[in-house]
């Protein structure tokens, strides 16, 4: 289901997702319940939509001021996976959401992310589907276009994508890098993982340590964007800001290397390097 279904973003991307083959069963726009949109029912509340359609995944396109509420409404209605695309949600709203979700059986991906795609099967997001050629490499990334770049390089290197998860670039997000890597390690359809991070926060280091603790069961190729970013400046993403000595690109790359992750210095080498790792 789509929250913010009838808005311009919701309409455009819902159309794209339907074309890709995603099973969209309906949507929510408060006040427009009872109407139809894109040949699917519109409901006033998430609970109504779940009751009538059996939806268990939701994608959110509502404006930043209302997005936190939309996430919590989904969780309350029993949605299992919530993908929040919205950019610019106030941080204190996300503090509330993070806490609220702890008591719920709901996984959140994002906010401020491109979504999740299982190549050739299902797209819950805004990424260009054709870039993701089906295959056996998983991608987890904080960035949108850099995910597409990585997927494209992987395809050009003769490999393909199992699933790509864009986790988002905000300071507080639902699914972390480590959680996404864990999911890939237990996914029988994934042989190796591309892990793309950026400056700020400690999520890449946490994921790298987990990979090492799990004996590097699957190879991981890593890249950190922002090696040339000046300290203390926010680089586009709200979370992309170097705050101390251990969240610089260099520090993260060092920890990742020490944990046995194949770190590439140049973003142009992600695909090529993955192909080399897979040959071994």
């Amino acid at each position: 289901m789509v929250q913010g279904f009838t808005g311009s973003e919701g309409t455009f991307h819902a159309t794209q997702m339907i074309e890709y083959g995603t099973g969209i069963v309906g949507g929510v726009t408060p006040g427009k319940g009872g109407t139809r949109h894109l040949d699917r029912p519109v409901f006033n509340t998430v609970a109504d939509c779940v009751k009538n359609t059996g939806a268990d995944v939701s994608i959110i396109f509502v404006p930043p001021a209302f997005a936190a509420d939309a996430i919590m409404e989904s969780a309350e209605a029993g949605i299992r996976l919530v993908v929040c695309i919205t950019e610019g949600i106030p941080t204190q709203d996300m503090v509330k959401v993070k806490n609220y979700l702890q008591a719920k059986n709901t996984r959140l991906v994002g906010p401020n992310c491109p979504g999740v795609i299982t190549a050739g099967e299902c797209k819950v997001g805004i990424m260009p589907g054709f870039v993701f050629k089906p295959g056996r490499i998983g991608i987890v990334s904080k960035s949108g276009t850099l995910t597409y770049e990585a997927a494209d390089q992987v395809a050009k290197a003769g490999l393909g994508i199992s699933t790509a998860v864009g986790i988002g670039g905000d300071p507080i997000i639902g699914t972390t890098t480590k959680e996404a890597v864990e999911l890939f390690f237990s996914d029988p359809g994934t042989d190796a993982v591309v892990m793309i991070g950026e400056i700020g926060g400690g999520m890449e280091a946490e994921a790298a340590k987990w990979v090492k603790e799990n004996k590097n069961k699957k190879p991981v190729v890593g890249f950190i964007a922002g090696q040339t970013a000046p300290p203390g400046r926010r680089m586009g993403h709200a979370g992309a800001i170097v705050g101390g000595a251990d969240d610089t690109a260099a520090a993260k790359m060092k920890i990742m290397s020490e944990c046995g992750i194949h770190v590439v210095q140049s973003p142009a080498d992600i695909g090529k390097h993955m192909a080399e790792v897979m040959k071994k």
């Binding site: 106030p90 990424m127 770049e149 494209d152 670039g169 922002g226 973003p267």
Partner: protein, 403 residues
């Protein structure tokens, strides 16, 4: 958004957080008035003049033109006049400003808090910020005030305390008491500190701050607890619900090209390098900067043109990057998903023609939807623009351009 000390203190007063009182002044004349008022209010000949810039280390920093410190105590009207004259309009260089320093447009003339009294004076440190690792707000505090907190954390980590605030209950009274006890306070000072911490946390939440730092948090000789200095950062994403706070933005503190880029809705950060870049998406933009460096250049900027890279945004981007005389080449890197590459290519060609003579090499890398058509458009345009499809090809072209 960063605030000045005087702005932050005004906001704190609204939340009943006691602050060192003062008046913001733009002229020596205003400073004289401020001194007279402070003298009348607090009955002391002493007052402090504090330069207002968006950077720390003001007390130890010096004004380039005359060597005076950015924070200075005066004990007469003549003193204040002299200090104000030297600081206002001067260029303050501190550890955080870099060698260029920052021009001081405003000073805060404030009351002297170091008056005598029955009790010992003490300086503490206290800040409220977000702990990204668990998504909770945390109050960080220390008995070691008035010093660089990073140094305290490094040298004596046991002197830094943290109190996490659970989002559902907010800051609880026992937590505020615990902080006051850990700071070694008792009697009136203890009570004042509990009130201070509680009200400060309310201000942090109420104003949607991303950080508020009180250093020093001061215990005066009469056991009053006050914020002598305050550094406050507001969450840009939350400004939509605080329309009254947007006017506090001081654009003179920002790079003029960054301010101009903001008018076009471009996300721009000025850097010191020689290769300009224009990219869609923040992560890819950072990655592109890194690639420029690996190719032997230095990035001149960060520029995310967002989801709609059309002729208008590309032209605005060109104009902004070309303002920087150090730029020796420009790399445009667009991964077309929803946005089609041929449209972006046409935008680049139109923008190039509109601007006329661009005398530096332009490298355009377009990948994704309709990339081949886009390359053909660029190659057949007759313009001095090099095109690439692969990121590695773009890297080699940058290498050639800066060689």
């Amino acid at each position: 958004m960063n605030l000045h000390e005087y702005q932050a203190k005004e906001l704190l007063k609204k939340y009943n957080v006691p602050v060192q009182d003062g008046f913001a002044c733009s002229t020596v004349h205003e400073a004289e008035d401020a001194y007279r008022q402070i003298k009348a209010l607090y009955g002391s000949n002493f007052a402090v003049v504090k330069a207002q810039i968006h950077a720390g280390g003001r007390g130890k920093g010096t004004i380039k033109e005359n060597g005076i410190n950015g924070v200075k105590v005066g004990k007469s009207l003549e003193d204040i006049q002299d200090i104000a004259k030297k600081i206002l309009g001067g260029t303050l260089v501190t550890k955080q400003t870099g060698p260029h320093g920052k021009v001081v447009n405003k000073i805060l003339v404030a009351q002297d808090m170091y008056y005598d009294g029955p009790h010992e004076r003490k300086e503490f440190y206290l800040s409220v910020l977000l702990d990204r690792s668990n998504g909770q707000n945390v109050i960080m505090y220390s008995t070691e005030g008035g010093m660089n907190i990073e140094d305290v954390a490094h040298d004596t980590p046991e002197k830094i305390f943290k109190e996490w605030v659970h989002p559902s209950g907010g800051l609880l009274p026992f937590q505020a008491r615990k902080i006051a006890f850990n700071l070694g306070l008792s009697g009136d000072a203890f009570k004042n500190c509990v009130k201070f911490v509680t009200n400060l946390y309310n201000a942090y939440i109420g104003l949607d701050c991303s950080m508020v730092e009180i250093n020093p948090l001061f215990k005066a000789a009469d056991d009053k607890i006050v914020a002598v200095d305050c550094k406050m950062k507001l969450d840009d994403n939350a400004l939509v619900r605080h329309s009254d706070l947007t006017s506090l933005r001081d654009t003179t503190e920002e790079d003029p090209t960054e301010v101009e880029a903001g008018k076009y809705n471009l996300n721009f950060v000025k850097l010191d390098g020689n290769v300009g870049c224009m990219v869609n998406g923040a992560g890819l933009a950072m990655a592109t900067m890194d690639m420029i460096k690996l190719s032997g250049g230095e990035p001149a900027n960060f520029l995310d043109v967002g989801g709609t890279a059309n002729a208008q945004t590309v032209e605005a981007g060109f104009k902004i990057i070309l303002k920087d005389p150090n730029v020796k080449a420009i790399l445009i890197n667009i991964f077309g998903g929803i946005v089609r590459c041929d449209r972006v290519a046409q935008g680049v060609i139109d923008a190039y023609k509109n601007l006329g003579n661009i005398n530096i090499p332009i490298i355009v890398r377009l990948q994704g939807t309709n990339a081949e058509e886009a390359k053909k458009l660029i190659d057949e345009s007759g313009l001095k623009v090099e095109s690439a499809i692969l990121l590695s090809e773009a890297a080699s072209l940058v290498k050639k351009a800066v060689a």
